[in-house]
Subunit: 90 residues, 2 copies
């Protein structure tokens, strides 16, 4: 099984929804939607839109939040992260 | 027990961290951190900062995301929502 992860950034949300839907259509059983910082809201949007409007028989099976240490020009800083796992209902 | 909910909006994140910490200091066993739309990332920040830097013996006990129908001037629209429950470790 390949690594079924979609990293959500600053592009329009439908780009990421399409990426998620494509992975399930290619046979994935689980897809992880990940984001950091301000993209976290868009990751939640991605998971909601994908499960409510495009994918039959797929549900949110887990949500994890955390804090990551990131290097910037002005030193290290903490950013929040989220990982939403979507899974086919067996 | 009163309703221990902190609604996260557009103010600086530390305002909401302080609200969460205050509720635990007043004896709450659980505090729900809620947000909608773009404030979702700030809600995750609030929960992370509160548990990592200010509260001993408090952990994230549950995270729920969903979609809510909201009335706007131009009709109804869907927005994503999040609810992060923080609980004292027994």
């Amino acid at each position: 099984m390949t690594d079924n992860t979609v990293f959500v950034g600053n592009k329009p949300v439908m780009n990421y929804v399409l990426a998620v839907v494509t992975q399930f259509n290619q046979g994935a059983d689980h897809v992880a939607v990940k984001a950091r910082g301000k993209a976290i809201s868009r990751a939640v949007d991605t998971a909601e839109i994908a499960t409510n409007r495009f994918l039959e028989g797929v549900q949110k099976s887990g949500i994890i939040t955390g804090t990551e240490l990131v290097d910037t020009e002005s030193g290290q800083t903490n950013v929040s992260s989220i990982e939403i796992t979507l899974s086919k209902i067996p």
